[in-house]
Amino acid sequence: MSEMWINMGPQHPMTHGLWNLRVRIEGELIRDVDPEMGYLHRGIEKISEDRHYNEVITLMDRCCYVAGLAWEHLYIRAAEQALHVDPPERAEYLRVLCDEFQRLGSHLMWYAAFVQDLGLMSPFLYGMRDRDLVLDLFQSYTGARMTYEYMRVGGVRNDLPPGFTASARKVLDWLSDRFREYDQLCLGSTIFRKRCDGLGVLKGPDAVHHGVTGPMLRSAGVKRDLRKDRPYAVYGQLDFDVAFADGADVTARYLVRMEEMRQSVRLLRQVLDWLDRHPGPVIAEHLPRWLGAPYAPIGLEGYLLKRNYPKGVGFSAVEEPHGEALAYVVNEGGEHPYRVKFRSPVFANLSAARTYLVGYHVADIPPIMGSVDVCVGEVDR
């Protein structure tokens, strides 16, 4: 058959979000791909220039619907550096708690979507079911299931409710059992292995070259994890291993993500133990309260410029569930950030699509793109 272009998206079951993968196929073979982004572009970076520092947090949750807290953490760290604010230690632990639970939630969501792409129907619901418990935990202390708005410049909004750590430990126990079940359903299936082995290969040097990060990079044997290499928050004080694999294919990415979930459970147990033992304030005491709610005289233009607040530039790097996320916040002394720039890991992972898609079959696109774990909200921002 002669070659033809097909549009996989923006409304397509494979895309998991609004984007368009244009594929040039010859028969069932992929000859070329061209991802088209921008269907979900909301101009978050632009809107941020028009908002107070704390109000930007509401946008961060909309960056990625499965990793809202990780994005909040990312932005907050940059904003704190730009505004010269230091959070208390308990807030840092709470943020790590958020981050790791978010990683669990995000990877469970990824698992569900990924197996769904392969046609596995029941594990899809198992993944969603177990993610719901993580969302329950989020709801119990942030007050929302997806758009958390939990972190604040200088700390977090509120402390954990009583009894939270006990519930969280139960959820962790339950999840640890489920991981075995997931492996039986996926790795234990010949068809799964035949579908995933040797698929979407992106070797380590290529991955580094194309800016690919996160589980995709670690599945190629490159042990780069910002939590280990450049410990932020309190990751330096916690004990965990970097999950990695050598296969550089879809199966390897599956293995890396499953191992990351296990490591997250391990991290979370340490964090919960620490939180049990160390009560304390969760928001910085000497905090300029014009920063936003509560009791903020915000909305009055030019107020901060009169106060000569020190300028600054903030930069933060966070290992988001999808990979390396960066934020760059420029504070020019106003009550709004002058410029906010984010680096989305999926953005770079998608930009390398040609390297890991060309040469495979049309039927391989869903598992490969599933193993990339596309979250369009943070690509388009």
């Binding site: 194309h210 790097a317 390396e324 390398a352």
Partner: protein, 158 residues
């Protein structure tokens, strides 16, 4: 790696095109270079100093001029470094980094459409997030929110 180390390593290769290395908390420093030596700078950092991972390219509009900030990461040093160059607003172009780091491709497309910085010799400089034919550059300071705008979208047929 400290800013002084960076300066020491880069000065012989760039000479006066290296405008300075500023300290930046949490990174190895912020290398300011002249845009005429862009590729030389990229090569020096990529080949000599081992900054093999280009994480982000961001453009900042300072109204009078625009700044391009490259964020690089070295797996060996486990450190970030910023590269920064300024371009005048009426002549905003800089050499593309996609020859050195393929990952620059999309970042530069985004910077071009958002902050109107042209990257010379870019393999595929077209709109990424905005629709084709979009005539505005949203992240310029002159682009105000809450203003009606005329938007002409050309639909591409394949």
């Amino acid at each position: 790696m400290q800013p002084a180390d960076l300066e020491q390593a880069l000065r012989p290769r760039l000479g006066e095109h290296l405008l300075g290395v500023e300290p930046f908390e949490g990174t190895a420093g912020k290398v300011r270079f002249d845009r005429s030596a862009a590729v030389a700078t990229f090569r020096a950092l990529h080949d000599e100093l081992g900054f093999t991972h280009l994480a982000m390219i961001g453009g900042i509009d300072w109204v009078a001029h625009r700044e391009v900030v490259y964020t690089l990461w070295s797996d060996a040093a486990k450190q970030y470094v910023f590269l920064s160059t300024t371009v005048p607003a009426d002549d905003a172009h800089v050499e593309s980094a996609s020859g050195v780091w393929p990952s620059a491709n999309w970042h530069e497309r985004e910077a071009w459409e958002m902050v109107d910085i042209t990257f010379d010799h870019h393999p595929d400089l077209r709109h990424l997030l905005m629709p084709d034919g979009y005539a505005f550059h949203p992240l310029l300071r002159s682009f105000k929110l809450h203003e009606p705008e005329e938007l002409e979208v050309k639909v591409r047929h394949v």
